[in-house]
């Protein structure tokens, strides 16, 4: 069986740590654009003050190379592998080592604990951490999506009936009504529609990787319904409750309509690195 060269493993580790550093200390251009647009539209003075703080915070974090938020989240990694690179245990270990290095160098808050004893692993790795979602691709790419708990804890899933497609907008709006200011709005809502119980949740999280400075009419309709609630930035009122709603669909059982909402705070942190495989083979 083919193995992965130590040079490539080291490159994977370095790329993971580098992607985490970028994701924790700066926001992608589409997220900055969405925040800028919200500031242009928002008229409520309290909401504007929150958005101004957010913009100033992004500026400070970038200038000093420091984390945007003290909740630096838990690592979620999306990996694509070309046919020449096998998904070995060593490859997963290389990703975990990248998380350990970033925890030390950024620095990140050690957030990963045993679910029952609550014992902290101190390096942001552990059983199932980092979470790695693997897909085949033409290149080796590593996308990190560090996920904070405030927003993650407000996420929900519903197994709707096939006849209840019109309930989707209601379920999403209800999710924000239950969440209020807790997930640090203005939020980004990743929606997974279809697949299976577990598949819908995975789609919802993947939807957070889509560009948020554009929406299709269905996404726009749900976003408008959420913003009509008037929860506003940080739950203090205003028209900007969601920066964007992004939907990913999967085919599903004819008797099913799973819908998952993965709530993300305004800091929709993510970054991608491509590793040049040819250099190491």
């Amino acid at each position: 069986m083919e193995s992965v060269s130590s040079g490539l493993l080291e490159a994977v580790t370095a790329a993971t740590a580098s992607a985490l550093h970028e994701a924790e200390t700066s926001l992608p251009p589409d997220v900055n654009t969405a925040i800028g647009r919200a500031l242009e539209r928002e008229e409520d003075p309290t909401a504007r003050a929150q958005l101004e703080n957010i913009r100033e915070n992004i500026h400070y974090a970038g200038e000093r190379g420091l984390p945007l938020c003290q909740d630096t989240g838990v690592p979620v990694i999306y990996l694509t592998l070309p046919p020449s690179v096998p998904a070995t245990e060593a490859l997963y270990d290389a990703l975990a080592e990248g998380v350990r290095q970033a925890t030390d160098s950024v620095p990140l808050r050690p957030n990963v604990v045993d679910p029952l004893t609550r014992e902290n692993t101190t390096d942001n790795t552990g059983g199932g951490m980092p979470a790695v979602h693997l897909k085949p691709g033409n290149e080796l790419t590593i996308t990190v999506l560090p996920k904070g708990a405030g927003a993650e804890n407000c996420s929900r899933i519903a197994m709707l009936l096939p006849s209840e497609a019109s309930e989707i907008a209601r379920f999403v709006a209800e999710t924000m009504l239950l969440a209020g200011g807790k997930p640090c709005p203005p939020v980004v809502l990743g929606i997974g529609i279809g697949a299976t119980f577990d598949g819908a949740a995975a789609l919802a999280k993947e939807a957070l990787l889509l560009p948020i400075d554009e929406m299709d009419p269905f996404e726009e309709e749900i976003c408008d319904a959420v913003n009509a609630l008037g929860i506003g930035p940080m739950g203090l009122g205003g028209t900007t409750t969601a920066l964007a709603v992004k939907i990913k669909r999967g085919h599903c059982h004819t008797a099913s309509l799973p819908v998952a909402v993965n709530v993300q705070c305004w800091a929709n942190r993510r970054a991608t690195r491509t590793v040049e495989v040819e250099k190491w083979t």
Binding site: P45, T46, A49, Q50, N53, I54, E56, N57, Y60, A61, R64, L66, P67, L68, C69, Q70, D71, P107, R109, G148, G150, E164, S166, E167, A169, R170, F171, A173, E174, L177, L178, G180, G181, K182, C184, A225, A228, L229, G230, I231, G232, P233, M234, G235, L236, G237, C265, W266, A267
Partner: protein, 185 residues
């Protein structure tokens, strides 16, 4: 209004929704620190003091990141601080009806923007620490603030911006989705 610690009766004039800045000393405290203070006493002069719900990232004596944590976790743990003379609680997400009543006539809840850890850190200097054995995030850090921009979330007259916003949101939700079936809230 520019507020400066120690805070006095000037906080009684504030109304929910007012924008203020706060300068002077604040003390960080989250779950563990509240429990310890209730058991063993408050390690600073509480009269006119401001408590910041925050678990900061500190390197050496420098504040690296210090955004607010969810204040609702301290709902049941704040009364004794207000009884001792604390005038302001600072955090995110608001607090419950019990705290709203405890603040009546004596103090305010100030909201800071969640996630704005770098902005906060840029306006902070560390002056001291208590309960350091609780760990970095749970210790009580004495921090000198320079004009941190805040919104009055709950005032001393029973005004509560968070509660008002959520009440309106519920009404709007019922109006918008009245025609839809399914489990109601």
């Amino acid at each position: 209004m520019d507020l400066k610690t120690p805070l006095g009766d000037e906080v009684l004039d504030l109304r929910a929704g007012d924008a203020v800045t706060l300068s002077g000393t604040v003390y960080t405290a989250r779950d563990e620190a509240h429990l310890r203070m209730r058991e063993e006493g408050i390690p600073f002069d509480p009269v006119g003091a401001a408590i910041y719900h925050c678990g900061p990232v500190i390197r050496g004596r420098e504040v690296v990141a210090a955004g607010p944590t969810t204040s609702a976790r301290m709902n049941a743990l704040s009364g004794f601080l207000l009884d001792a003379g604390v005038r302001a609680l600072i955090g995110k997400g608001g607090m419950d009806e019990g705290v709203r009543e405890e603040l009546r006539g004596r103090g305010v809840y100030l909201a800071f923007t969640g996630g704005c850890a770098a902005l906060a850190a840029a306006r902070m200097q560390i002056k001291g620490v208590s309960f350091e054995d609780l760990g970095m995030a749970e210790a009580v850090w004495e921090i000198e603030l320079d004009h941190l921009p805040l919104i009055v979330g709950i005032d001393a007259h029973g005004g509560d911006l968070f509660a008002a916003v959520m009440q309106k949101a519920k009404l709007q939700f019922r109006q918008e989705f009245n025609s839809y079936k399914g489990p109601s809230l």
